[in-house]
């Protein structure tokens, strides 16, 4: 089937079988590789993208279900919350291997867009589905708090 995707503010015509996960269309068809494959079963968050501003797992989102929706990947992030998150991430040098970090940043941006002043408990709950095998969690938590500060300033 051919579908028109609204991704990062641009319209793309893509051809894919129904049931194809959005993740593979983004990565293999549109060649935007910032969105990562970690598990394929919605258990790690590496593939997180925004669908109409809400974080979703692209590995478990079928292509036929996103026609008409606004999709944002790490490459297209531009909100105020995203800028604060990326600034905080750089200040605190959150990353290690970096492979999970697009997903972490997409989720953190989703959290701060909903809740600009999250508590530590809010963060731990919201970010629970984003695994980091390098265990950069202390810095993720601190960077989200820092991003919240940046947004207030």
């Amino acid at each position: 089937m051919t579908i028109s995707l609204n991704l990062n503010g641009q319209t793309h015509r893509v051809t894919a079988e129904p049931g194809t996960p959005l993740l593979w269309v983004i990565r293999d068809e549109l060649k935007l590789t910032g969105t990562k494959f970690g598990c394929g079963v919605a258990a790690c968050g590496a593939c997180t993208v925004h669908l109409d501003g809400e974080p979703v797992r692209a590995c478990q989102t079928n292509i036929e279900d996103v026609e008409g929706a606004e999709i944002t990947t790490i490459e297209g992030l531009s909100s105020r919350a995203a800028a604060a998150v990326q600034t905080a991430w750089a200040e605190l040098d959150v990353v290690q291997c970096g492979y999970c970090q697009s997903g972490q940043i997409m989720s953190a941006t989703g959290l701060l867009s909903e809740n600009a002043r999250p508590t530590v408990e809010d963060i731990d709950e919201y970010m629970n589905g984003n695994a980091c095998r390098c265990a950069t969690y202390q810095r993720i938590r601190a960077a989200i708090l820092r991003a919240s500060e940046i947004m207030e300033a």
């Binding site: 990562k36 394929g40 790690c44 790490i74 990353v95 695994a131 390098c134 265990a135 993720i140």
Partner: protein
């Protein structure tokens, strides 16, 4: 240093715009300089006429920070800012970019990246500085001793100019044999906690390219239908259902019959076609044991006479000292198989070149291994194979195997084609968890005697393990007199001065392929040493910190440094002064030349479930080159250690791995450890490892905290026993 005057005039006029100064070490170990065209040199530093400095990093970057660390060394000695220097990963060349601790072998592992590069990269930076100063001195007719380089600018004798202005001349000069290294007092970047990681920017905007991100125009994606049990082989397959999948190209049995390669136009088609494939397996020679049997075998081995005695003290001498003791403490420990599960599943891409050669695009941890393996498989001379090192999404040991396993798979899959299209091999998470390269399962049994004063009289320590090194090309280097030292490291060579100590080892046949896993043998020996000492301290009615310090007193430098981190962790972690309702445990361990101590503090909910409130870590890794990277490595190492002992294990039923993906091999999550605090010992000793040393003490510190108000954990993971976590 001599001046090559014959070329100088030419270079000044003709080459200034395109000049490049390269600094490196010739194969004979001598520092050398020259222009990029000088092929005998393979550089550690490239400096362009625009003053842009590039560090050539010989270690792969999977998060442990060598791209930042090695760059820092050069920037410091050369006199440029961290913003003025970039980095590239080195090509595969074991003669030039070898790990100085591995011989003629290029690779990263054993927490050696900084330790083996520290002098080498500083020397290269210092030589570049001296060359550029010599060039400026020539140009200005000045005395080189009054010139200096700071922030990328040469100054002195009343003049100043950016380093790029002198690159052309410097490239004609001979490198100094023995450049002066800066004193620690002159350091601006080494030891500076404000230095930021060089790899942060691309990793926060999605532009960092990992091996999984290869997207060549003509590539095929290959996944392998793998044997359900180790050692099973393909008898036949039926691809009629796969043929209905759009994008499926073909399937072919690997020449070693270990699996069926499924070729497709893109990843999703490959994964689906693999699911649709019907493969018949011959399991007659396959592993058929279950993990319970493997555990029983290991435990009966520690209850029998050990195959190898490691210590000079015999077990009879030790037995005599224990048997008559006032108290005898005895524990048996079991450690399960563990997967590494790096966040980026294994992958690499082979790209054919017009001249018949190839490029391997890989998050290459030890490029020399796959380089040699592909040369054999593809019947190509080494020089026809280039390796482009990309970012690696975690490894923890997995991206380096003695067999170069996944690169070999890619090579075999590529060899079965007409070699006109690139082949990208992709592992799924299921392949990774079930993939059969695990931290070995291990059992320990320890008997300790205490006299009436609570002093240790004897310590009998038996280990049964699946050897990592035996049966691999590393056997020659790592196995001595039958003993695979990686099975006993951290126990056999403990710095504790324990009297009457016997250590014995038995090898138990491997159920699966086993592999080094972040901190290797220390991942279990530290747990056993630190748990037993805790048990002994409590049995003796002594404070666990004081009890350990007494065993380190009056020793040498190792004992002093171990005591140093122990005291620092106890002090910063408020040892003995936790809030009501909380309990603390402590552990300390030396590994990879570094010394780490940790205090774990826990609380419990009304049902007794454990919450990890805080881990306080003290680390002595010699001179701290990038303090913030060291802190990050401790945080990560602690998380890795604790995450696995909490709830992870790989088990087998009739030879089949029971786990398959993160839902049943649950990673540490953000809420699992409420806080981690790291304190770095200030030291002038040579830098040692940081990638692994944070891991070994973390699990026993937690277990010791749990034991204060709950069960003593001797079998892992913790949740397989009586422990629950919030």
């Amino acid at each position: 240093m001599t001046v090559n005057t014959s070329r100088r005039g030419f270079l000044q006029t003709a080459a200034a715009a395109s000049a490049v100064l390269v600094l490196g070490v010739r194969p004979d170990g001598v520092l050398a300089s020259g222009t990029a065209e000088t092929t005998m040199l393979t550089p550690f530093i490239r400096i362009g006429a625009d003053g842009r400095v590039t560090a050539i990093v010989k270690h792969f970057e999977t998060g442990q920070g060598p791209a930042t660390g090695l760059t820092t060394l050069i920037a410091e000695e050369l006199g440029v800012t961290m913003e003025q220097i970039g980095y590239d990963f080195a090509p595969s060349d074991p003669q030039v970019y070898n790990n100085l601790m591995f011989g003629a072998f290029q690779g990263t592992g054993g927490s050696t990246a900084m330790a083996n590069s520290f002098m080498q990269y500083r020397q290269a930076g210092a030589a570049a500085r001296e060359l550029l100063i010599a060039a400026a001195a020539q140009e200005w007719g000045a005395d080189p001793s009054v010139l200096m380089i700071e922030d990328g600018v040469v100054s002195g004798a009343g003049k100043s100019a950016p380093i790029g202005d002198f690159v052309a001349i410097a490239a004609t000069l001979d490198a100094p044999a023995d450049p002066r290294l800066k004193d620690a007092a002159e350091f601006k970047l080494i030891g500076n906690a404000q230095v930021r990681r060089k790899d942060t920017p691309p990793k926060i905007n999605g532009t960092a390219k990992f091996a999984m991100d290869m997207q060549l125009d003509n590539q095929m994606v290959v996944v392998i239908a793998r044997a359900p049990r180790m050692g099973a082989t393909v008898t036949s397959f039926d691809d009629s259902d796969a043929l209905r999948i759009t994008g499926f190209i073909r399937a072919a049995t690997l020449p070693n019959k270990a699996g069926v390669a499924v070729y497709a136009e893109h990843t999703w088609a490959a994964l689906q076609a693999r699911d649709a494939l019907d493969v018949q397996w011959d399991i007659s020679n396959a592993e058929s044991r279950s993990s319970d049997q493997i555990r029983d075998q290991l435990i009966s081995a520690v209850n029998a006479d050990p195959e190898y005695a490691i210590t000079a003290t015999s077990r009879d001498e030790t037995a005599a000292k224990i048997d008559g003791a006032a108290q005898i403490l005895e524990e048996t420990f079991y450690f399960p198989l563990l997967a590494h599960a790096p966040m980026e599943p294994l992958t690499c891409t082979i790209e054919p070149l017009a001249d018949g050669g190839i490029i391997l695009h890989d998050g290459a941890q030890t490029p020399t291994g796959p380089h040699m393996a592909l040369s054999q498989i593809l019947q190509l001379p080494m020089e026809k194979i280039q390796i482009k090192t990309m970012f690696a999404g975690g490894s923890f040991g997995r991206r380096s195997t003695p067999t170069a396993d996944y690169q070999v798979e890619a090579g075999l899959a590529f060899a079965m084609t007409d070699r006109s299209r690139a082949v990208k091999l992709v592992w799924s998470r299921e392949d990774d968890i079930r993939g059969g390269y695990y931290r070995p399962a291990v059992a320990h049994k320890v008997r300790v005697g205490l006299d009436s004063a609570g002093e240790i009289t004897g310590w009998d320590h038996r280990i049964a393990a699946q050897s990592i090194m035996k049966g691999t090309p590393f056997e020659g280097a790592f196995v001595q007199d039958g003993v695979d030292f990686s099975s006993v490291e951290g126990a056999a060579d403990t710095p504790y001065q324990i009297p009457g100590r016997f250590v014995g080892l038995s090898d138990v046949a491997k159920a699966t392929t086993v592999l080094w896993w972040r901190s290797v043998g220390h991942s279990h020996t530290a747990f056993v040493m630190e748990t037993m000492l805790d048990i002994a301290a409590r049995a003796a009615g002594r404070d666990p910190v004081a009890f350990r310090l007494a065993l380190l007193e009056g020793g040498g430098s190792d004992q002093a440094r171990l005591a140093g981190v122990l005291k620092l962790a106890a002090d910063k972690g408020n040892w003995g002064k936790s809030d009501p309702g909380r309990s603390q445990g402590i552990a300390v361990h030396k590994s990879f030349g570094s010394f780490a101590a940790q205090v774990a503090e826990i609380s419990r909910d009304e049902d007794g479930n454990v919450k990890i409130e805080k881990v306080t870590c003290a680390i002595d890794c010699g001179l701290a080159v990038n303090p913030d990277v060291i802190r990050a490595q401790m945080e990560g190492g602690i998380g890795y250690g604790i995450g696995h002992v909490m709830r992870d294990e790989i088990t087998l039923t009739d030879g089949e791995v029971d786990q398959s993906n993160f839902p049943d091999y649950e990673p540490l999550r953000i809420g699992d450890i409420a806080s981690i605090e790291v304190h770095i010992v200030s030291s002038a000793e040579a830098p040692t490892g940081v990638g692994e040393p944070g891991t070994p003490p973390s699990a026993p510190a937690l277990a010791n905290a749990i034991a204060v108000s709950g069960p003593r954990i001797t079998h892992l993971p913790m949740t397989s026993g009586d422990v629950g976590f919030i």
